[in-house]
Symmetry: C2
Subunit: 242 residues, 2 copies
């Protein structure tokens, strides 16, 4: 995934698309492997697009597809893919319809019909301007609610593997007191990772242990083993997490 | 900046360190130029550390410095820098003190005293285990409140340039209706960027225009010019944003 936008790097805007797209991808049976966040800068976008699309099955970008001068994602992706930029006739028609009762299409709005040559559109039910797909690159909006609608439109259309399932075991314990148990439990089971996420709450130390696997059986086995291990050490383990 | 952690890429945890570190860097006169988010994977961390530290003045990492088996940041950074991993005597002393009334130091807790050979410590007022600095690499915690304390400790210690200042002008207008004005205003002024951040609120469309510059004079000039331009088009511009 590539997040594009000065507003994220300046700290002004809290990104929400990483979490949203990651969760959606999991359901599609696809794992988010890496994310880059770059400025509104053509060279930075081109470098990231070419690296990420080459070594991943899919690349999702967010941000920079609006009507203003700082929206340069389409031009940068086209440059990365070595194609020109064209007005997509269907995008133009969508925008003409959307803006008919909103003052009409002007040059700035027409910018949102520009796509890398050969691209398809991703429906946007919320604000007219569509997302864009070309090859394994999916160009989404920066506004999270608009991207949410685009993800809905893409649901079930990407080829994925088995969804990654997760189960959580919580415990009022300092993770450093049961670190060996976590490592041993993970090592004794194939196709599982255990993440340890400590917290401070109500003046007490605790941790949630998140088990991930593509197999529901393994997930159940590891959960049971971890709870048994914690119980054997005199800890109260809570299936489902705290 | 390099964010390390499966929990971010799985969508389970919303990252808050990018926003926090970006805002802190701005005050130090340093701009956050790029971010990568990678999994708890040594090869991915090494690749990112070596690329980012080579082409930026500073590299901040977050995550992966706790006591459990999935905390591999120190080992990966050491590998990237081509140095070994050692127990830092001051870190060991800090942890001995911190855990004296909390069950004592064990092997897992002692892991948090491990640093790349030659590193210095960054104080952690909250939970004992310190951050780590070696060369231009700053290794911070994943828990945002702990990283906040480490940033406090680093305030004023990094060499920066002029802080980037910003001013916001808000307007109840679709950004696509005044896109030309934004582009022209930015082009007519040196050392300024104008970002356009549209929103939907109370059923209305609006946008905040964020002007950034290292000069307070330029910031004031551009603000004035933008407000004048919006007013000339019959729009109510709001200094400070909506």
């Amino acid at each position: 995934m590539l997040v594009i936008g000065d507003e994220i790097l300046s700290g002004r805007t809290q990104d929400k698309n990483v979490t949203q797209i990651a969760a959606w991808l999991n359901v599609q049976g696809i794992r988010l492997r890496e994310v880059r966040i770059v400025a509104d800068d053509v060279d930075a976008i081109v470098e990231a697009v070419n690296t990420l699309r080459a070594r991943n099955d899919y690349l999702f970008t967010t941000g920079g597809i609006g009507p203003t001068h700082d929206d340069i994602t389409v031009d940068a992706v086209a440059q990365a893919l070595g194609v020109g930029v064209v007005i997509h006739p269907d995008a133009r028609a969508i925008l003409e319809g959307y803006y008919a009762a909103r003052g009409g299409l002007n040059d700035a709005r027409l910018r949102m019909a520009r796509v890398p040559d050969g691209a398809s559109l991703i429906p946007n039910r919320m604000s007219g301007a569509p997302g864009i797909q070309l090859g394994n690159v999916y160009i989404m909006a920066g506004v999270p609610s608009i991207t949410a609608g685009m993800l809905d439109a893409l649901t079930g259309t990407l080829e994925g593997g088995l969804p990654v399932l997760s189960a959580t075991v919580g415990c009022w314990v300092a993770e450093s007191e049961i670190a060996d148990l976590l490592a041993t439990t993970e090592r004794l089971h194939d196709d599982c990772q255990i993440g340890s996420y400590p917290f401070f709450r109500d003046g007490r130390v605790g941790a949630n242990f998140v088990i991930r696997s593509t197999s529901a059986d393994i997930l159940a086995d590891v959960s049971t083993a971890l709870i048994a291990g914690l119980t054997a050490q005199g800890r109260d383990a809570v299936a489902g997490g705290i």
